[in-house]
């Protein structure tokens, strides 16, 4: 390398550093630093500040454990429901062959632009004892349903709020599958169900995985939905963490529980991704 090239390389490096500095600073200030703080609080005791695992062990307390299990149950159910609703919908959207993808995205983003709280409170009004559903039911002489303040109401809210996060990634991968690939499968003798099971479903797996992640994580950690639709009767893990910070003013316990939840989510996602990688290329059928 001659001198000129050396100087150029140096300049390039400097420019790279300069251009990337805002992002580096952002990452440090808003991602790494908060994470370090959560880890610090989570692993230190409230009174002395010494190292302790007590905050993490809190999750094993019977009440907290039950809360975690209920949270996982509800978010798993919501995620599966989202998948079951979103996949056929995304398939139908794909077969419409819309010219502009923007329109479809808009269709599903539009409700999301509405305030999250507003949407959830709207559901509260619909499900209430004297809400829209029960008014309609009693108008036709049917007994009232008791949905509000039950796990059903929470699941309903989660599905409604997080459905777009499932539809969009799945629709994206589906719309990238070429018509000729599907025709090739038909040409080789596959009927519609076989094409779906052996070609479309495996090819859309990346979208499914990302949809699962994007619905499961917010479902597991939300406390607003359970607050509004669960009426405080049903305690989810997100709510417990909120209470630790706000009511008990115990940052250490809150951070400890958050850490446990984070690790739990991380493991779940690792399992999903590993399954995805494993099945790739090997015989699924």
């Amino acid at each position: 390398m001659n001198k000129r090239e050396g100087r150029l390389a140096k300049q390039n490096k400097l420019r790279q550093l300069l251009l990337s500095s805002p992002y580096v600073l952002w990452s440090i200030g808003f991602i790494i630093l908060p994470l370090v703080m959560v880890v610090y609080y989570g692993l230190t005791s409230r009174d002395g500040g010494g190292f302790t695992l007590e905050n993490l062990k809190l999750i094993w307390e019977p009440t907290h454990r039950a809360t975690l299990i209920l949270s996982v149950q509800l978010s798993v159910i919501s995620t599966i429901l989202c998948l079951l609703i979103a996949y056929p919908l995304a398939l139908a959207l794909r077969s419409l062959r819309l010219k502009s993808n923007g329109f479809v995205i808009l269709l599903f983003m539009l409700p999301m632009w509405m305030n999250f709280l507003l949407r959830t409170i709207a559901w509260q009004n619909i499900l209430e004892k004297n809400g829209v559903i029960n008014m309609l039911l009693s108008a036709v002489g049917l007994p009232k349903l008791n949905i509000i303040n039950t796990p059903t109401a929470i699941v309903l809210g989660m599905v409604y709020d997080f459905l777009p996060f499932m539809i969009i990634p799945i629709y994206n991968v589906l719309s990238k599958i070429g018509d000729d690939v599907i025709q090739a499968a038909a040409d080789l003798g596959a009927n519609y169900f076989q094409i779906l099971w052996r070609v479309i479903l495996p090819l859309s797996k990346p979208g499914i995985v990302s949809g699962l992640t994007m619905v499961f994580v917010p479902s597991l950690t939300t406390f607003v939905i359970s607050d509004i639709l669960g009426g405080g009767n049903i305690l989810l893990i997100g709510k417990v963490i909120e209470q630790k910070f706000k009511m008990a003013n115990d940052w250490n316990a809150g951070c400890g529980l958050s850490l446990v939840l984070m690790v739990f989510i991380f493991i779940c996602m690792a399992i999903v991704q590993k399954y995805d990688k494993d099945s790739e290329g090997t015989s699924v059928w």
Binding site: G178, D180, V181, Q183, A184, A185, A186, D187, L188, G189, A190, N191, Q194, R198, V199, P202, L203, K205, E280, G281, S283, W285
Partner: protein, 359 residues
């Protein structure tokens, strides 16, 4: 050679897309063990014809007969034919072996049978040992050969190929042409091949069907299509040619650009306006006094096998291919052997010119 056994018949096929006629009353039969090429410019209806045979499109009117049975409304997965797609359309989530096995697994063949077929097919397309690899790790030519292997393991009676070499570079394309001819001979099945590349069509086909704007222009052997084009479109599309307006004076005598040429065609009447086609390699450049007409060389390009020259003579620029060099500015005579002059009727109206019905 192709047997006289009609395997596929298309009867009065018409297809419109949003008011635009893509195929207009098309009739065609394909013989068993024939290599038929549908040739034409883009938008001529060749791919639509193939897709109707494959079952991916339904004709608006008309019938598709396969082996004596009406299959017009049969879905693709119920048809005894397989397609090789232009962009390969391999299943990217499966290995090469799984791709090839796809059709056989659907048909619930035994494991052993499938394994034997995979081995056989990979050998046939010269990709022995590629079974465990993923499609993405193969080159375009290799992927296309896998697509062919995936189709032929199902032992179709007919293989449909939709511009299968379109995405490959020239050298690979030429190699694959010979590969396809070899495959066709080894398998002994019918090939229906779609292309816009006339050289490809001439090299591989038993029969070429030239199409334009939804109409069949000419069907015939490659030699026939090349040497005796039925109209100016076919002449122009297949190879290079000099197409000149002329007058048929009487049987076996035609007047081209004011000079009388002997030819071999009869039955065009007397003093009839016609078009003549003369291939560039059939134009002989001789000393001026020996030529039927005289001209001057205006351009010269070396093309490898031959020189390409343009000769200005009697107000027409003649395209000439020859291995003998005539430098720019040289006075030359033009001579054409009688059997190298192809006479065609002039189209009678603009409409007919467009669709090429000029019989």
């Amino acid at each position: 050679m192709a047997q006289e056994n009609k395997l596929i018949t298309l009867e009065n096929i018409t297809k419109k897309y949003g008011g635009q006629v893509v195929l207009d009353d098309l009739n065609l039969y394909i013989r068993e063990n024939e290599f038929l090429t549908l040739l034409g410019p883009s938008g001529c209806g060749k791919t639509t014809t193939l897709r109707i045979i494959g079952g991916f499109e339904t004709p608006d009117t008309g019938r598709v007969i396969f082996d004596g049975q009406d299959i017009t409304n049969l879905p693709p997965n119920k048809r005894q034919l397989n397609t090789v797609f232009q962009k390969y359309a391999l299943f990217t989530h499966m290995t090469i072996a799984e791709n090839i096995a796809f059709g056989l697994k659907i048909k619930k063949k035994s494991k052993q049978y499938i394994q034997d077929k995979i081995d056989y097919a990979l050998k046939l397309v010269n990709l022995d040992g590629f079974g465990k690899r993923m499609p993405d790790s193969l080159s375009g030519g290799q992927q296309q050969r896998i697509a062919i292997a995936r189709a032929i393991v199902n032992e179709p009676k007919v293989l449909l190929l939709d511009e299968p070499l379109g995405a490959l570079d020239l050298k690979l394309r030429q190699d694959m042409q010979y590969e396809l001819i070899r495959l066709k001979n080894e398998l002994g099945i019918t090939f229906v091949y779609v292309t816009h590349d006339q050289e490809e069509a001439l090299t591989m086909s038993d029969t070429i069907m030239v199409m334009n704007q939804g109409y069949i222009q000419q069907i015939g052997s490659p030699e026939m299509i090349y040497n005796e084009p039925k109209n100016a479109f076919v002449a122009d599309f297949i190879g290079e040619s000099n197409i000149i307006g002329a007058t048929m004076i009487q049987d076996r005598l035609v007047e081209i650009l004011g000079a009388k040429f002997a030819c071999v065609d009869e039955g065009f009447g007397t003093n009839q306006p016609v078009d003549v086609v003369i291939r560039p390699e059939d134009v002989d450049l001789v000393e001026p006094e020996q030529g039927t007409i005289q001209g001057v060389v205006t351009s010269l390009i070396f093309k490898g096998v031959h020189y390409e020259m343009e000769v200005e003579a009697n107000g027409f620029t003649w395209l000439v291919h020859s291995t003998d060099l005539s430098p720019v500015g040289k006075q030359v005579g033009i001579k054409v052997d009688p059997f190298d002059i192809q006479i065609m009727n002039k189209p009678e109206s603009e409409d007919e010119e467009a669709v090429g019905i000029n019989e």
